[in-house]
């Protein structure tokens, strides 16, 4: 059901949202239908289907949080500005934890996060300060395990990942991991302990109680350093966000991951259809409900962000959500003012 851009403008979310509180589900359905109409298959909220931007809204939006999600939110702000909006969006990158610290005392309107908010540590702070929030899934990142291009390792099982990166690992030769692997020394390059990427690998993939990885691998907060290290060292292995692999695919080799259902290569498709487990990780933004309902600029920015989510994700080299997840995100957004 293609809408003309004029109709889409009339459908501008702001007035509709207030008028149709009981009909929110219907609105979500309408938007979802528009999204799935896209011919390129992964284009939820795809290019050109009336983004409903109201350029008369002015104000400030303060965003802070994960440096992984930073490119997404920054791109959203840039795209909105290029389309003529004068809303001032400032995007910080204090890290997911640092972002929540500010978010839960009400300093920021939106918090970027590369992991869900912690129920035991962060949610109570928000509650104490009366901050109600809504979690919105915005994109998927396929954490990519990459090796030196000449290394004859093409696929790793989850157990092998644990043996490779786990805190108890003593493997120094690829044959220690699996006798079929080549007789080569392992050199590791992994993200620094402050990064959400490290946390995700430690907590959700390796899953050791200590939530750490082995500490004899080289680490850097700059993923470009990891890329250089892996592509320049025989037998090297490491991991980082998919965009770093995508941009350096000619000097690295991505390893497929076997979580029990065969080897799956990291790609936009496998991350979207859910087969690239457990390394496909969700990226979120958290919206302060009060800011959203009381500050038109925050509402306008968030609506624009979600309405153009696929374009923003592609522009920032992330993997857009599949239609199902996108519908859920839209529903969650519609629920804020409900």
């Amino acid at each position: 059901m293609p809408l003309s851009s004029r109709e889409a403008d009339l459908l501008n979310v702001t007035p509709i949202r207030r008028a149709l509180v009981p009909g929110l589900a219907a609105l979500a359905l309408v938007l979802t239908a528009c999204g799935s109409d896209d011919s390129d298959g992964n284009g939820n909220g795809g290019t050109g289907d009336g983004n409903g931007l109201d350029t008369s809204v002015t104000g400030e939006v303060i965003v802070d949080g994960s440096s992984t999600v930073y490119p997404m939110t920054s791109t959203a702000g840039q795209l909105m500005k290029a389309e003529g909006s004068s809303i001032e969006v400032s995007v910080g990158e204090s890290g997911t934890g640092g972002g929540f610290e500010k978010f839960c005392v009400g300093d920021t309107d939106i918090s970027d996060a590369s992991r869900p908010i912690k129920d035991d540590e962060e949610v109570p702070v928000c509650e104490e300060n009366g901050i109600e929030f809504t979690e919105l899934l915005v994109a998927t990142d396929a954490l990519t395990v990459a090796v030196h291009p000449d290394l004859a390792v093409d696929c790793l099982t989850v157990d092998e990942l644990v043996a490779l990166f786990g805190p108890k690992s003593t493997a120094t030769n690829w044959q220690d991991i699996n006798p079929d692997f080549p007789d080569e020394k392992i050199t590791g390059f992994i993200p620094g302990t402050d990064s959400g990427t490290y946390d995700y690998m430690a907590a959700d993939v390796v899953g050791d109680e200590s939530e750490t990885l082995r500490n004899d691998f080289e680490s850097s907060e700059d993923d470009n350093v990891l890329v250089q290290g892996i592509s320049g060292t025989e037998g090297a292995v490491g991991f980082f966000g998919y965009s770093y692999y995508e941009e350096n695919a000619d000097t690295l080799k991505a390893v497929a991951i076997d979580s029990g259902a065969g080897c799956v290569e990291p790609s936009a498709e496998t991350a979207q259809d859910g087969t690239y487990t457990p390394l496909a990780r969700p990226l979120f933004i958290y919206v302060n409900n009060k800011s959203y309902t009381e500050e038109p600029a925050v509402a306008e920015f968030t609506d624009y962000y979600i309405a153009n989510l696929a374009d923003i994700a592609e522009g920032a080299l992330f993997i857009p959500l599949n239609d199902e997840d996108y519908a859920a995100t839209q529903e969650a957004l519609a629920g804020i003012s409900g």
Binding site: D64, S67, S74, Q78, E83, E88, N224, E247, G315, L317
Partner: protein, 321 residues
């Protein structure tokens, strides 16, 4: 110190020129070689870094670098959006990313930092040098702490500034005044120490002459000592500011965030050039990394420009007694 330097140089020159001195034995030649190597090592590494960076960023020395804000949309996607949404590709693509936010932000931060740090620093140094009784325990403690403060890691000043902004009741701390407080605290010890050096270099004769003519200590300081010390104070202050302009860590700590707008006042949200470079250099996108290299050269030019101003001021006002 300057006498010693002259002598050593004179001896070395004459040794090489005449070739007759007994100094020209093997040991002295080796020592000279070591000195030359040390000099070259520093200069060559620095030059290699600068040239490498300049080459890497050479494709980006265009006007977009100065007139445009950060853009991080991958070029192919930007072209697609541009066609479909009717927005010029220059407004979207990372091939046209710029440092306008960072350059203007850094300029605002430097001016505000100077306004905060210079009066405070000069006043503190004048007190310590001209009025304070350095035999009292509290003045000695202040002096020791000043020396220590100059060696404190810069990120600590960021935390301090964030705390001050919190006490002042600012909810969002990433504004001009917040960053400037952090940078002013950072360079304050440098400004105080260099101002004291400059005041100390003013001959006692001038003070005593003024006092003998009936001027009070305050009048002497204001009309004689401070004006005589201006070249030294200005040089030290500007060198302090050129340290501040290259700092990213304390600013990130205060909470400065990426902006797409020009700062308009002391409470505007800003970001600084080094922060933008730091962020862009770790981007996966090659075009953004290239722009970061160009940004480094811009920052370098700004720092060299400030140092040049310091040298000009010094040469213009320098007096000998």
């Amino acid at each position: 110190m300057s006498t010693a330097t002259t002598t050593a140089r004179a001896v070395t020159t004459s040794t090489i020129a005449t070739g007759k001195s007994k100094d020209r034995n093997l040991a002295s030649l080796i020592f000279l070689g070591v000195l030359w190597f040390s000099l070259f090592f520093g200069v060559v590494v620095l030059l290699a870094l600068i040239i490498d960076t300049a080459i890497e960023g050479s494709g980006r020395f265009d006007h977009y670098l100065f007139t445009d804000y950060e853009k991080s949309i991958a070029h192919e996607q930007a072209q697609k959006f541009s066609e479909l949404r009717g927005i010029p590709v220059e407004d979207l693509s990372n091939h046209f990313t710029g440092f306008r936010g960072g350059i203007l932000g850094s300029l605002w931060l430097m001016i505000t930092t100077a306004l905060l740090a210079i009066p405070l620093g000069i006043a503190a140094a004048t007190y310590l040098e001209e009025f304070a009784d350095s035999s009292t325990w509290y003045n000695r403690m202040i002096e020791v702490n000043l020396q220590n403060l100059a060696a404190v890691p810069s990120i600590i000043y960021g935390m301090l500034a964030a705390a001050i902004m919190g006490l002042m009741g600012f909810q969002f701390k990433g504004i001009v005044i917040g960053g400037a407080i952090a940078l002013a605290l950072l360079i304050l010890p440098v400004v105080i120490i260099t101002t004291r050096e400059a005041l100390r270099a003013v001959p006692q004769d001038i003070r005593q002459g003024s006092l003998a003519l009936g001027a009070t200590v305050w009048q002497t300081t204001r009309r004689q000592t401070l004006p005589s010390a201006i070249p030294g104070i200005a040089t030290g202050t500007i060198l302090g500011l050129s340290r501040a302009i290259g700092e990213a860590a304390p600013l990130i700590m205060v909470g400065l965030a990426a902006v797409q707008w020009d700062p308009t006042g002391f409470t505007s949200k800003v970001e600084a050039l080094p922060m933008q470079i730091f962020r862009m250099a770790s981007s996966p996108q090659e075009a953004v990394q290239e722009a970061a290299s160009a940004g480094i050269i811009v920052l370098l030019a700004m720092i060299l420009g400030m140092n040049a101003i310091a040298i000009i001021i010094r040469n213009k006002f320098q007096r000998s007694w």
